[in-house]
């Protein structure tokens, strides 16, 4: 499924977060949106799944403008989505198995045995075994993200959104999650949109990279193109230099 944002503007009070933003996410590919923390990446993601509506502009999912849909129509579109939240957002009153089963129970009429089978399969797909009876609080951060991904995959989504999937993980777990994202995309053929400020991970997994800055996409293209960008903001970001560092260097 194709995602397209056209002239999207969003402000919270006086603070403009998205400013006439245009972006087209290619179907069946992994696109990573990079940008500074607090730069509006999560807000952008929430526009795509309809959690936030734009002040102006349109968000198209396969040519359907979801910014004008009512709640019921929006829910139908959302059934095509799976989303992995930054801290996994597992329901802590439910076991791992119940978490993964939740969307299946809500939207299908499958028997308990069939649901249990799907839960096992999805957990296996993300590399987890014998955790169905555990509570989310008993799991490590990396395992919680895997369970979150299994839950996101439960209804075989056509679009998978990842909100900073590697944040808060050690380098080995980060690599695990990167491989998992690539494997999941290959296995499902879904359109994957990842937001991240983790440059190493971005270049490992991305087919396309977009840089969000000042409410706009200032650079878009293949990882190679981004690496060799002539835009100083993109270069600074990739090299981990803040603009204040630059000012300091100029001063010294």
């Amino acid at each position: 499924m194709k995602i397209q944002l056209s002239n999207v503007c969003k402000a919270f009070g006086d603070q403009v977060v998205l400013d006439n933003l245009d972006l087209t996410v290619e179907p069946h590919r992994i696109t990573v949106i990079i940008g500074e923390s607090g730069g509006g990446k999560s807000v952008l993601l929430k526009h795509i799944i309809g959690l936030i509506r734009p002040d102006s502009g349109s968000v198209y999912i396969d040519d359907v403008d979801i910014s004008v849909l009512n709640d019921r129509q929006l829910n139908e579109v959302r059934k095509n989505f799976g989303m992995l939240f930054q801290e996994a957002a597992l329901f802590d009153s439910m076991t791992v198995g119940e978490n993964v089963a939740f969307p299946i129970r809500e939207h299908t009429r499958l028997s308990k045995e069939e649901i249990d089978g799907i839960v096992e399969e999805k957990l296996r797909q993300v590399g987890l075994k014998k955790v169905t009876g555990k509570m989310p609080a008993e799991l490590s951060g990396g395992m919680r993200k895997r369970v979150g991904l299994a839950r996101a995959l439960a209804l075989n989504p056509k679009i998978i959104l990842f909100d900073e999937p590697t944040t808060g993980l050690d380098p080995i777990r980060r690599d695990d999650i990167d491989r998992l994202i690539v494997k999941t995309q290959q296995l499902t053929g879904a359109t994957c949109l990842v937001i991240s400020h983790d440059i190493d991970s971005t270049f490992k997994i991305a087919h396309k990279v977009a840089m969000l800055y000042d409410g706009r996409i200032i650079e878009y293209g293949s990882p190679e193109k981004i690496k060799h960008s002539e835009n100083p903001v993109v270069n600074n970001f990739i090299e981990g230099k803040s603009s204040s560092d630059q000012r300091l260097a100029d001063y010294v």
Binding site: K46, D71, N75, A89, E106
Partner: protein, 256 residues
């Protein structure tokens, strides 16, 4: 001058705005009560939490309220030889006023605060957003069952509180203060009418609605991490308690 007016008027605007938002939440909750899926399992789960799990605290507070009322009225009524009216006074006070009010305040502290804390935590850890992304309406899944449980269980808990309060009053009045058992009971039967009990139960249903709706509203609109959850929980208890006592006055004025 304009700034002064703005400064003075801001709290009123905020109160009216909050009242409007709570009303909209109530309307959405009522709409979800009659639209499928009906969430029977969730409703029973919340009824257990609000009702069954509150029983111990309601039993203890109800019993001691009845007991202290018996002592106080006994010493007051003895001054003019009216000890025989202690039973009726305890029963009427419990049925009309103290049963509903004490029960509502206790459940606010126990279950209303927990609703705000649980929903608040779900909000700040993005679990409520996760429900939206899975095409599940959080008002229907989280709030409607809690509000139904509040409206249904508060009258039931109030009946328990009324009964145990009268038993407590009987124990103190008859066993400890030597009021004649027959007279104690006869005066209750003579002075307490069914309407006293029913009106008390209607009040308690309204209190159940208030405490669950405020708890859910505060939790659902939490922001600002763990501190925000703490703030929402405290505010929900304060706002619910104050609203219950204010509405108590007006409901009593209208009904009795």
């Amino acid at each position: 001058m304009v700034r002064l007016l703005e400064f003075a008027g801001k709290p009123f605007v905020l109160i009216i705005e909050s009242f409007g938002k709570v009303s909209l939440l109530l309307a959405a909750t009522l709409a979800w009560m009659v639209r499928p899926p009906y969430r029977i399992h969730e409703i029973f789960k919340q009824m257990e939490f609000v009702g069954v799990n509150s029983l111990p605290v309601v039993l203890i507070t109800g019993a001691f309220t009845g007991m202290v009322l018996a002592i106080q009225t006994y010493y007051g009524f003895r001054m003019f030889g009216g000890e025989s009216l202690v039973g009726a006074t305890v029963a009427l006070s419990m049925a009309r006023e103290l049963g509903p009010a004490i029960t509502a305040l206790m459940v606010t502290g126990r279950a209303g605060s927990a609703m705000a804390a649980e929903l608040g935590t779900m909000r700040v850890t993005e679990q409520i957003d996760a429900l939206y992304t899975m095409s599940v309406n959080p008002v229907q899944y989280l709030i409607m069952p809690r509000v139904v449980a509040g409206i249904v269980m508060l009258p039931i808990l109030t009946i328990v509180s009324d009964f145990i309060g009268i038993v407590g009053g009987y124990f103190v009045g008859v066993e400890l203060l030597d009021i004649n058992s027959g007279i104690f009971m006869a005066r209750i039967v003579e002075f307490v009418h069914l309407s006293d009990i029913v009106n008390g139960l209607i009040k308690s249903a309204v209190f159940g609605l208030i405490l669950s709706l405020v708890g859910c509203y505060k939790g659902f609109n939490t922001s600002g991490g763990a501190a925000g959850v703490g703030r929402a929980t405290t505010q929900s208890v304060v706002i619910s308690s104050v609203s219950i006592l204010i509405s108590d006055y007006f409901l009593t004025a209208v009904m009795f």
